[in-house]
């Protein structure tokens, strides 16, 4: 099915099921521990062995010698594969560092051996017996030093109008430097796989991955085998956040171990490897300048940033949304990548936007303050309904102003204290802050197959559910389209034997994959119509209705099975407009007047993301984003050892994600909007919108509470305690 123009009025505008709150259909399985996650799938292949990785303890250099003889002789050990024994595996286009093979060390904790044994304990213990010698090389690890060299050089991504003139003539200007930290996905379930490649022929992979087809292709590239010989299953994923978009070492090492041992091998990355072996969000340094006239109209943005990557990677581009979020005739944005020898940086929830809005939305607060304007009103004044770089391009739907107004009203924004540092309850300085949220609404082609078996409909697609609610919204979509009850629909996901879907990432999954299921259901309807020889049948109450025909769906096939498959193809008409999601965050914090500890007390998000397919699962996504935003603002930051070149805080005790006690009352309001340009369901994603702007809203609230403006994340107490002296009792 081609989606080549904006959707017209359709069944989703009169939906019975789509858009209504439905509890997760996989919820019971998960609560009872019966949803099979990759590492627990002991039933899928007999005689499984356990693999354990050995990883490099230098950041850059070469291995000169490895001796695995003690490991091979250790109790229970079946196989050992060292990186020196095989040629470097080919890299898929989405991998920057080698996953295995050869003597080159590109980053700390790069995998250099896998030990396969009867038990985890035996494999782990034997891995420690492998003797490794290195020839270490000097690496580059300090983003700050790199920034100093590169400041204001390089080609901008865009340069519109006359930025320099705008700053010369502006009534108000801002020019500040900001820093965001490298962050880890720190998902609860680490990367884990079971691989059966026992005979070196067909490969079956039970894994935890967001993108099944991409994973299959990457495996084929890595091992130089025919992708058709590979089957990948990933029906349940215990959190991904972008960290499981790519093929990683777990599946590669399990495959090598399986081939070497002739048995299926399971392997999970030990927790420290989630931080230094797998990917992370790169830290950034950003310089942001804003110019405005006396009335508060922005005349120019100048946003320059650097992030780090291993040579050939893409880092974290935090400047892109500055091109389109607010009005203003002139703007220049530039992002430069610094080659550094830290572990591989790549996408993490709202890649670019999370770090960019964490900065832009502080700058907007600072600018409003300079202008003496309310930060909400300042943003409303600078709203735009067209792409400011190309005013011929409209936004398909943009209700940012409504988000700001509804949020301000619901939060009680007007009643806040406006003078920083003057609202105190006992030991706590109370502050209020807000920020805007903006994230694109991409869609990817997505396929599905539907099977009508009696009165039941089975949906098969390689779409994944990474905790987002895919099972539920796809069941809603299929039930709605086929006029069936939710209970009569079974959803099968995450299997490369099923049609290729969008996968999960970039907040494109829900909108793309529901449209794919819709397309497949329409194909099934066509088949049924042809079979019954009727025109334009209606599907209602599990029946087919057309003229004199009134037949239960269960009786259509006469014991046979109807199978239909289709893929939604999103057309390039979308390129003529900007399609985005918008939001506003309002947050209350308390900052301890003596210690500088910040605790969030109240959070509100208002979201404009088109049709909300399921308010329960969508709200859950936004809450998760807000929670991750609290971590990003206050505690999550990978600390670099600038000499040894690795992330030092590589466990969940030292890399502090928010815990329950950190998360207060959270409220989410969805605007009742639709976006016909997005998909037949007129929905857009929310999974990444929820984190966008949260950190800045907290930073702004801290400023309101204390009068201290911190421009470096995470905003830990040591970054403000010296300045708090004045605000102290």
């Amino acid at each position: 099915m081609d989606f080549n123009q904006s959707a017209e009025d359709n069944l989703f505008d009169r939906a019975r099921i789509v858009g209504k709150p439905h509890a997760r259909i996989d919820g019971t399985l998960k609560v009872m521990g019966r949803a099979p996650y990759a590492y627990e799938r002991n039933d899928v292949a007999a005689d499984q062995l356990v693999g354990y990785p050995l990883c490099a303890t230098i950041a850059k250099g070469r291995i000169t010698h490895m001796d695995a003889s003690s490991a091979r002789a250790a109790p229970g050990v079946v196989s050992v594969v060292t990186t020196l024994e095989i040629e470097p595996l080919d890299r898929s286009e989405n991998n920057v560092a080698r996953l295995f093979g050869g003597d080159l060390i590109e980053h700390y904790h790069q995998a250099i051996a896998v030990v396969v044994a009867d038990t985890l304990e035996q494999a782990r213990s034997a891995a420690a017996l492998i003797d490794v010698s290195y020839q270490q090389e000097q690496g580059v690890f300090d983003l700050e030093a790199a920034w100093e060299k590169l400041d204001n050089t390089g080609e901008p991504l865009s340069d519109v109008g006359d930025v320099d003139a705008a700053f010369q003539t502006a009534d108000f200007t801002l020019d500040e430097i900001y820093r965001t930290a490298s962050q880890s996905h720190a998902m609860m379930e680490p990367h884990a796989s079971i691989v059966d490649w026992s005979d070196g022929g067909k490969m079956t992979v039970w894994t935890s991955n967001q993108m099944i087809e991409m994973n299959k292709q990457a495996l084929a590239t890595s091992f130089n085998i025919d992708p058709d010989t590979i089957r990948v299953e990933s029906p349940y994923v215990g959190g991904g956040f972008g960290g499981k978009l790519w093929l990683r070492a777990d599946a590669v090492l399990a495959a090598l171990g399986s081939r070497a041992s002739g048995r299926p091998v399971k392997l999970a990355l030990p927790r420290p490897l989630v931080f230094n072996n797998a990917t992370h969000r790169s830290g950034t340094l950003q310089r942001l300048r804003i110019a405005a006239d006396a009335q508060g109209k922005i005349t120019a943005f100048d946003h320059a940033a650097v992030s780090h990557t291993l040579p050939g990677g893409s880092g974290e581009n935090p400047v892109n949304q500055t091109r389109t979020f607010y009005a203003g005739a002139s703007r220049r944005v530039a992002h430069q990548l610094i080659d550094m020898n830290l572990p591989e940086s790549a996408d993490m929830r709202a890649p670019g936007e999370a770090s960019g809005l964490a900065v832009l939305e502080i700058a907007m607060d600072e600018m409003a303050q300079k202008l003496g304007m309310d930060p909400v009103e300042f943003r409303i004044l600078n709203d735009t309904q067209v792409d400011p770089e190309d005013p011929s391009k409209p936004f398909s739907e943009r209700h940012y102003v409504e988000c700001l107004r509804q949020g301000a009203a619901a939060f009680g924004w007007e009643a806040r204290n406006r003078t920083p540092g003057e609202n105190r309850e006992g030991e706590w300085l109370i502050g209020h802050g807000m920020a805007g949220a903006y994230r694109g609404a991409p869609t990817l082609d997505s396929g599905a197959r539907v099977r009508l078996q009696g009165g039941r409909l089975i949906v098969e697609t390689d779409m994944t559910d990474i905790g987002t609610g895919s099972y539920t919204i796809l069941a809603q979509t299929a039930a709605e389209t086929m006029g069936m009850a939710m209970e009569d629909v079974e959803i099968r996901l995450g299997n490369s034997a099923y049609p290729t879907s969008s996968g999960s990432g970039g907040q494109f999954g829900a909108t793309s994959s529901t449209a794919g299921v819709y397309a497949a259901c329409l194909a099934l309807q066509e088949q049924i119509a042809k079979h019954l020889d009727v025109e334009t049948p209606r599907f209602e109450n599990s029946r087919v209705l057309a003229g004199d025909t009134d037949l239960a769906l269960s009786e259509v096939a006469n014991g046979e099975e109807f199978v239909a498959e289709d893929t939604i193809h999103f057309g390039d008409f979308k390129d003529d407009m900007q399609i985005g999601t918008f939001g506003a965050h309002f947050i209350e914090v308390g900052v301890h007047a003596y210690t500088g500890e910040t605790r969030v007390r109240r959070m509100l998000a208002v979201c404009d993301a088109g049709r909300i397919l399921n308010p329960i699962t969508a709200r859950s996504q936004v809450l998760g984003g807000m929670t991750m935003g609290v971590g990003a603002a206050l505690s999550e930051g990978l600390t670099v050892d600038l000499e040894r070149g690795f992330f030092v805080n590589h466990d969940l005790a030292s890399y502090e994600v928010a815990v329950h006690a950190d998360i207060p009352e959270q409220e989410v309001i969805f605007l009742d909007t639709t976006d016909a340009a997005s998909s037949p369901l007129k929905s857009k994603g929310v999974g990444e919108l929820g984190i966008c702007g949260v950190a800045a809203a907290i930073a702004n609230a801290i400023y309101n509470a204390t009068g201290v403006r911190v421009r470096e994340y995470p905003i830990t107490l040591d970054r403000m305690i010296d300045q708090l002296s004045n605000a102290a009792p």
Binding site: H109, P272, D641, V648, N649, A653, L717, P729
Partner: protein, 316 residues
């Protein structure tokens, strides 16, 4: 984890004797720290002596008006004991600020005292660490190292790790004593402060326990009059080690005692600092943190310690 043998013993003297006799032996009780360390091969015992059957589970009243806390009393049970809550509130408050409910249920009084540092370099066997491998060097003192959570005083050229316990900070301000049994069956007793050793040139030695010697109890003297407070400062609201913590007992006249956690290789207290309490937080800290040698990363702890004490004093 290295392969190890395992046995259960039924009384403390037997435990001590076995631990001295079997090469590479260690005691295990709750195992909340030791098992993690064994999985990382930071601890590599060849033999574990399980002491959970030695009957040291009681909190009993002593003849001098104090309490004797058996080494196996769990952190949860100790924090909840009505006598502790009434007469030693600083201890109860310190305990509940630590770890999580599940960990406190398993962790014991003796084990808590012996938990190892949370220095990230100690936990990464790819890094040199004098505490883990004597003479290997200290990665935390490297020129690009991250030391935000590490010690500012009592540290050495060989090690700047801190002791992570909250409980021990409260015990220090209470003048608790550690009771042990040696491998020859002799009972010994030491003030907590003397029990812990500063790193000096031998950071692998953290206390005065001899081979086989086992903690059997912690003895609390008669209750100390005054307001008991424990303030643990951390980056997130729960389940985090202290950046700085302050244990305070203060009389209505303003006299009292102060101990710090999160700043040193052991709970940090000085008599002259206690004496300065009536003069306020700044006076206390100029004594208590005299001689501090912070890194650039953790110098904030000096300010933070003073402000945290000031917050407690202002609560009066």
């Amino acid at each position: 984890m290295r392969a190890f043998s395992y046995e259960r013993v039924s009384n403390p003297a037997q435990a001590a004797a076995r631990a001295a006799e079997v090469p590479g032996a260690k005691f295990i009780a709750g195992g909340t720290n030791l098992l993690d360390l064994m999985k990382h091969e930071i601890e590599t015992p060849l033999h574990l002596v399980d002491v959970t059957g030695t009957g040291l589970n009681a909190i009993t009243e002593t003849s001098n008006g104090g309490l004797r806390v058996g080494a196996l009393v769990s952190n949860s049970a100790l924090a909840a004991d009505h006598r502790i809550r009434r007469d030693y509130a600083v201890l109860s408050r310190a305990l509940v600020s630590g770890a999580s409910g599940q960990l406190r249920n398993k962790a014991t009084t003796g084990g808590n005292l012996l938990q190892r540092t949370r220095c990230p370099y100690f936990y990464d066997t790819g890094m040199p660490c004098n505490k883990r491998s004597p003479g290997a060097g200290c990665a935390a003192l490297g020129k690009g190292a991250s030391s935000r959570g590490l010690g500012v005083i009592g540290t050495s050229e060989a090690c700047i790790a801190t002791h992570p316990s909250d409980m021990a900070v409260a015990l220090r301000v209470l003048d608790a004593e550690v009771e042990t049994v040696t491998s020859s069956g002799e009972t010994r007793r030491k003030p907590l402060d003397a029990f812990y050793q500063l790193p000096g040139d031998t950071p692998e030695v953290e206390n005065t326990l001899e081979a086989g010697e086992m903690i059997t109890a912690v003895e609390l003297p008669a209750p100390v009059e005054g307001h008991h407070a424990y303030f643990k400062v951390r980056d997130r609201a729960s389940y985090a080690f202290a950046l700085v913590s302050v244990a305070l007992i203060q009389t209505p006249e303003g006299k009292g005692r102060v101990a710090l956690g999160g700043v040193a290789p052991k709970p940090w207290r000085r008599d002259d600092a206690d004496a300065a309490l009536p003069q306020g937080a700044s006076a206390v800290m100029s004594q208590l943190l005299d001689g501090a040698r912070p890194t650039q990363d953790n110098a904030y702890k000096l300010t933070l310690a003073e402000r945290t004490l000031a917050a407690l004093l202002a609560q009066e």
